[in-house]
């Protein structure tokens, strides 16, 4: 089966995220009130051929650990859809 996999990579909490700060500031300038804690990460979409959703998730996790996310600075979340 082919599974659609979405990977979200987000800067780890506590690390300065200057992109998030700049976006938060810009939103404030546009008049959006009450916006805080903006963080900018990456969304990566891929399709994975695998026997099951669990296998696709395990493959995506391995990809995150080796390449897609930097374990020093980023966290990731994986969503798998058939």
């Amino acid at each position: 089966m082919t599974f659609r996999v979405q990977v979200r990579v987000i800067p780890r909490p506590g690390l300065l995220d200057p992109q998030g700060q700049a976006v938060e500031h810009a939103l404030g300038s546009l008049g959006f009130a009450g916006v805080g804690s903006v963080r900018v990460g990456k969304a990566i979409e891929l399709s994975i051929d695998a026997a099951s959703a669990d296998e696709a998730r395990a493959a995506a996790r391995a990809m995150c650990d080796r390449l897609l996310a930097n374990p020093v600075t980023e966290d990731y979340a994986i969503e798998v859809e058939a």
Partner: protein
């Protein structure tokens, strides 16, 4: 016999020519090494130069880390061989796990290209023996992602074990209130515990010839050649 120093050209490297020139000016034989190479071509040391390898896609250095040549670079480092990463090369070395930590987007969100003052914190690494601890040199930085980060334990270990090689300072050598990119503890460069792998963001190769108005970076390369010369003749 002069030492052989390989400089790797990745797709998107852009400092390999001046790095080779700096190495040769210091008395070594420079070898331009393609990223697809599977050996270091007999080199005694390997330099990972500045630039934007693989377009900095995903993260700076994240894809170069898996270039074919990196297996040989890693084996060389593991065997105690000299590996030096400059700017993008430092980013690659961190991504490859040859050095701890990571380099993130500059805190001020801008690409920074200007001379900076850095203080030499170690005068016994493979590329700083011609310095005295506390020497301040003015060499350029040119990067968008030079903010050194690591977890607090790693930073404490770097400090405690004396693995910080260069630090951003003021002209007189005093600690600076701000650094060019927001790096933790003003770190501009570090080495591994064994001292054979060194990485830093500033570009000594860009200011290594007096015709450019300063050769402040030249001693990095003469230090390296001294070290390799000693090793080659030993």
């Amino acid at each position: 016999m002069s030492a052989r120093v390989a400089v790797v050209r990745f797709p998107g490297s852009n400092c390999e020519d001046e790095t080779l020139a700096a190495v040769e000016r210091a008395g070594a034989a420079g070898v331009l090494l393609d990223y697809r190479a599977t050996s270091l071509d007999g080199a005694d040391a390997v330099l990972l130069p500045g630039g934007f390898s693989y377009g900095d896609y995903l993260r700076s250095g994240a894809i170069a880390r898996f270039a074919p040549v990196m297996d040989a670079v890693r084996a060389h480092a593991d065997a105690g061989g000299v590996v030096i990463g400059i700017c993008n090369g430092f980013q690659i070395a961190c991504e490859a796990g040859l050095l701890p930590g990571a380099l993130l987007r500059n805190a001020q969100q801008r690409f920074t290209s200007r001379p900076v003052d850095v203080r030499i914190e170690r005068a016994d690494t493979v590329c700083t023996t011609r310095f005295t601890v506390g020497d301040v040199i003015r060499i350029p930085v040119a990067h968008g992602e030079g903010r050194y980060v690591a977890d607090a334990d790693t930073l404490d270990r770097l400090e405690g074990d004396g693995l910080v090689v260069m630090r951003y300072v003021q002209e007189d050598g005093a600690d600076a209130p701000h650094n060019p990119n927001g790096s933790a503890r003003d770190i501009a460069g570090i080495c591994n515990a064994a001292g054979n792998v060194v990485g830093f963001m500033p570009h000594p190769e860009r200011l290594a010839d007096a015709v450019l108005g300063s050769d402040a970076g030249h001693r990095i390369f003469t230090s390296l050649v001294d070290r390799l010369g000693a090793a080659v003749s030993a």
